[in-house]
């Protein structure tokens, strides 16, 4: 190579010629050295290239950009395609802040333009701010800054983008979010859901701000993680920029940890991250202080307000009244096509104008009644021929009404007459009903009386019948008790003690052993006859008849039989039951002598013939009297 250069010196001295020949040689030399990766050459070139690029960037950056673009752009594209998240993590701290600043500047310019335009117009807020600045001595710019205060940060989450797992969290003061793991996951799901929906509908990449009530969620994504800031209100652009800058610092420091996070909450880095977040929240929130109004300005403000009110009220009222009149007239015009004028006069509305015919007049009145339900004063002009026509119509109408009224009066009179007749008929009917009712009551009383009488007569007849049948009744009762006793006679109710052997021959005193049987029969007999008050009054006497056998003289037998009857009567009268029933007063005795001796097989049974008979006698007078009494 050196030999070739020496020879060139002798061949040619033309500078241009020498350059042409040397340059290919240098290129070849440099290429050979670079291919062999010669350390010295590379070191020289690296310094030179860096310096060359730096100088070129200062002198002609556009040319340098054009030169590097074909190489750098594909390389970056390739790297982003292979390691998208890592590239974002690396580039975000630079590009995120830069983009945010550009966006903020652009928005600020936009806001300034808007402000300038607003300033050209009358703004109450501006006037208020200007007055306040004058009164308080604080500049208008400072007041403007005070109005745009920063939102308080309540919590910040750092969440793994893909899994939604919470990596770190920090809260302000006592603020605490229940179950932050689940909240982070759910927020991640909702964010994914919204992003997915946005991608399907518009070409916007990420959801960034979610507002709920007065609070907001500010979400900033970068690579493998995203940040969620819970704020008291929507953050302004500057605050978003501050949050983004903080997030960029976090990413710069921990992007490797974020990329490799596997859900292990014990990692040391998490505590560091949470400490950093906590400091950022404290730094942001401690600058915030409650806004305090200057007390001295309050009365002045009230005074100004009252003053403005006093000035503006009459003007406002007039404007309002004129506007209302205009609206009313416009409505009337729309509905009737009439030019009607509305004027307020005291508490009334005056309606004036011309109406071409009666139909329109009716329409107008209908509209006016709806617009002025409280009433209005009508000063409308109607053409004369219309009024004449109206008068004729009215006259016709009045005639028709008169006819109708006359007919109605006739009908009314007829109705009144009919009503009076009906009233009289009703009265008569009512009186008749009353009379019928009285008759009915009287008949009912008579019937009841008759019924009572009949019942009484029936009772009397029943009693008379019982009296008339008193013997049969007594015989029936005696028959029931003594019917099977051979000594009892059913026909007359007498009792013949013919089987007893009551007396010894010639003796008047009955045998002691026969007295018990005598007593037994006698007590039953008198109980039936005298214990029943229905029967007792009609028993005149109970008769004891004494008998002898047919031996001896007739007179002797008559005395003996009387003595026998008397002994038995005395004995029976002495019985306690006889005394109780008063038998002693009606008990009588009689001697029958040897009358009716007892025969057996054609021969007299003398022992049986010495006997007594017992019978009762009715009191016919008492029966007759009772019958008479009952039939009275």
């Amino acid at each position: 190579m050196i030999e070739r250069v020496r020879r060139l010196e002798f061949d040619c001295y033309d500078e241009e010629e020498i350059r042409k020949k040397l340059l290919p040689l240098f290129d070849s030399l440099l290429l050979t050295s670079l291919e062999k990766k010669g350390g010295q050459t590379l070191e020289i070139l690296s310094h030179s290239i860096a310096e060359i690029i730096a100088r070129k960037a200062q002198s002609d950056p556009e040319e340098l950009g054009r030169a590097l673009q074909p190489v750098i752009s594909p390389a970056i594209k390739e790297e982003i395609a292979d390691n998208r998240d890592q590239m974002i993590d690396v580039l975000y701290p630079i590009l995120g802040g830069m983009i945010a600043r550009y966006v903020t500047n652009a928005i600020r310019e936009l806001l300034e333009t808007i402000d300038r335009k607003i300033e050209e117009r009358l703004s109450f807020q501006k006037i208020k701010r200007k007055i306040k600045a004058r009164l308080s001595g604080v500049s208008e710019t400072e007041l403007l800054l005070e109005e745009s205060f920063t939102a308080r940060i309540l919590s910040i989450f750092i969440v793994q983008r893909e899994s939604g797992l919470l990596i770190a969290e920090s809260n302000w003061g006592d603020t605490e979010i229940d179950d932050p793991q689940m909240v982070a996951s759910m927020a991640s799901a909702i964010k994914d859901f919204i992003n997915d929906w946005i991608r399907e509908t518009r070409e916007v990449s990420e959801v960034q701000l979610v507002s709920y009530g007065t609070s907001s969620l500010y979400i900033e994504s970068a690579g493998s993680v995203y940040l969620i800031a819970f704020l008291e209100r929507e953050p302004d652009y500057e605050q978003r920029e501050r949050i983004n800058e903080f997030f960029a610092k976090l990413l710069k420091k921990y992007h490797t940890f974020f990329a490799k996070f596997d859900g292990d909450s014990r990692a040391e880095e998490i505590k560091e991250i949470e400490q950093t977040i906590n400091e950022f929240i404290a730094q942001t929130n401690e600058h915030l202080s409650p806004r305090e109004e200057t007390k001295s300005t309050v009365p002045v403000r009230i005074l100004l307000f009252v003053l403005m009110l006093l000035i503006l009220l009459p003007v406002g009222y007039k404007l309002y009244r004129d506007y209302r009149i205009y609206r009313l007239e416009e409505k009337i015009r729309q509905k009737t096509a009439l030019e009607i004028k509305i004027d307020p006069e005291g508490d009334h509305w005056i309606v004036s104008g011309t109406v071409p015919d009666l139909r329109r007049y009716d329409e107008l009145r209908s509209v006016l009644s709806r617009l002025f339900p409280q009433g209005y004063v009508e000063r409308l002009n109607v053409p004369l021929h219309v009024l004449e026509s109206m008068y004729r119509d009215l006259a016709d109408s009045v005639g028709k009404y008169r006819e109708k009224v006359s007919t109605l009066q006739k009908d009314l009179r007829h109705v009144v007459t009919k009503t009076e007749m009906n009233r009289r008929e009703t009265e008569q009917t009512r009186r008749m009903i009353d009379k019928l009712q009285e008759s009915l009551d009287r008949l009912r009383r008579i019937l009841q009386d008759q019924k009572r009488r009949l019942q009484h007569e029936k009772a009397k007849l029943s009693r008379a019948e019982n009296i008339a049948k008193i013997r049969s009744i007594i015989l029936e009762r005696l028959g029931k008790v003594f019917g099977n006793d051979s000594r009892y006679h059913r026909k007359d109710g007498s009792f013949d003690f013919k089987n007893g052997g009551l007396f010894d021959e010639g003796k008047a005193v009955p045998k002691a052993q026969s007295l018990a049987e005598l007593k037994k029969v006698f007590e039953k007999y008198i109980t039936i006859l005298l214990a029943d008050p229905e029967i007792r009054p009609y028993i005149r006497a109970i008769e004891i008849d004494g008998y002898t056998d047919s031996k001896g003289k007739k007179e002797t037998n008559l005395r003996l039989s009387a003595a026998r009857a008397e002994h038995v009567k005395s004995y029976l009268a002495s019985l306690p039951l006889a005394k109780k029933l008063g038998v002693d007063r009606i008990l009588i005795s009689r001697g029958m002598g040897s009358k009716d001796p007892v025969f057996v097989d054609g021969h007299e049974d003398a022992e049986a013939s010495r006997r007594i008979k017992m019978a009762f006698h009715l009191d016919d007078r008492a029966i007759l009297k009772s019958l008479q009494d009952s039939l009275k």
């Binding site: 939604g164 797992l165 179950d179 793991q181 689940m182 799901a189 859901f193 997915d196 859900g263």
Partner: protein, 158 residues
């Protein structure tokens, strides 16, 4: 504490939500499932002396007119694929769910649950063929529910 995101996948009405209700400590309202297609629940458990916190994403089942939203799959450490034993087509559909899941998470693991075994008579249960890492489960009678989740955690840990 190690936190993991796991998914429950399967056709519509196979009992995914019931399995989660039977198992978890804390959950968001079921309304989220119908609103955004996912409901998140939490369960803390200890497996092999290690504490885990599972964030269980109950993904809405596929219907003929609605596909499963796969953007929820990202970052999941594992999945439980659920089928209804009384509907054979849901068992056949598990392969497609597994494919979709592994397409997003190639290194993650799956276990399978043949659910609603309470509707199968006792004598017929022995005849059910079970592929590896598959459990017959019943959210109603609490059969194998805990075992299912613990097995998935072991697979993730290993």
């Amino acid at each position: 504490m190690i936190r993991k995101k796991i998914l429950l996948l399967g056709d519509f009405h196979v009992g995914k939500t019931s399995l989660i209700r039977r198992y978890v400590d804390n959950a968001f309202s079921d309304d989220y499932l119908t609103t955004i297609g996912v409901k998140i629940s939490k369960k803390t458990l200890t497996v092999d002396a290690m504490d885990y916190e599972l964030l269980i994403w109950d993904i809405e089942g596929a219907t003929p007119v609605k596909k499963i939203p796969t953007h929820y799959f990202a970052g999941a450490a594992g999945a439980i694929l659920v089928a209804d034993l009384t509907r054979p087509e849901t068992i056949e559909g598990l392969s497609e769910h597994a494919l979709r899941f592994h397409a997003v998470n190639p290194k993650s693991v799956c276990v399978r649950a043949y659910n609603k075994v309470d509707l199968i008579p006792e004598e017929s249960r022995k005849e059910i063929e079970l592929p590896p890492d598959t459990f017959i489960t019943s959210a109603k009678d609490d059969i194998n529910v805990v075992c299912l989740f613990e097995t998935l955690v072991r697979r993730i840990a290993s």
